[in-house]
């Protein structure tokens, strides 16, 4: 699975993209976040700000409950500020 990070989330986590092998017990976005939080504190510091996190699966907005698989591209980013 590819995970992409943007804006200050990218800076807090220290990378713009990473490849992970999705564990069998991780079925949706919430579970993915729990999994990442257990890897190190950088993730925790980001994901604690739940209200400021937007999620996309395969370049489409989704929710914390959206089901995911190992072939998906996931993105975490703050509310957008273009225009």
């Amino acid at each position: 699975m590819v995970i992409k990070y943007f804006s200050w989330i990218k800076e807090h986590i220290g990378k713009s993209e990473e490849l992970i092998e999705l564990p069998d017990n991780v079925k949706n976005i919430s579970e993915l976040i729990n999994y990442l939080n257990n890897l190190n504190d950088d993730y925790k510091k980001v994901f604690i700000k739940k209200d400021l996190i937007k999620i996309a699966v395969n370049k489409t907005y989704c929710s914390f409950e959206t089901k995911i698989s190992n072939n998906d591209e996931i993105a975490f980013f703050p509310p957008v500020t273009g225009g």
């Binding site: 804006s7 489409t60 993105a75 957008v80 500020t81 273009g82 225009g83």
Partner: protein
Amino acid sequence: MEKKPIIPVRIKIQNKDFDVSEETNILRGNQTGAIVNFVGVVRGFDERNNNLIDSMTLEHYSGMTELEIEKIVKQSYERWSITGVTVIHRVGKLLPSDQIVFVGVSAKHRQNAFDSCNFIMDWLKTKAPFWKVEENNYRKKWVDYNLSDDEATKKWV
């Protein structure tokens, strides 16, 4: 139900500047009576935080940006009778008074062009994955999202 004609839609994400006359000329044509253009401009001062802005850098999620803008344009096309749409959004480093974004809509009748352009801008502001970081000599600050942008979309519901 009458089927709507296919209309020309151009969506571009680019670093280089755009020429508003050129874009207006592309939107002109025999069937068009009205063109409404929106041009977003980099401001030199952040009023909310009372900071001077020396430059701004725009980051985006390549691929998703185009998809989101396409969705917005499609909704706009379904809602109003329009004859063409162009959306250009710049990314990378920009300076105060630089052009950031162009949304141009042509239509037979002006109110459709006004509403469609306004609609596209409002949704682009809240859905298209771009992020701005403002820079001056002392700091670099990711721009906070603006609650009033969410409010602005409510007029279309």
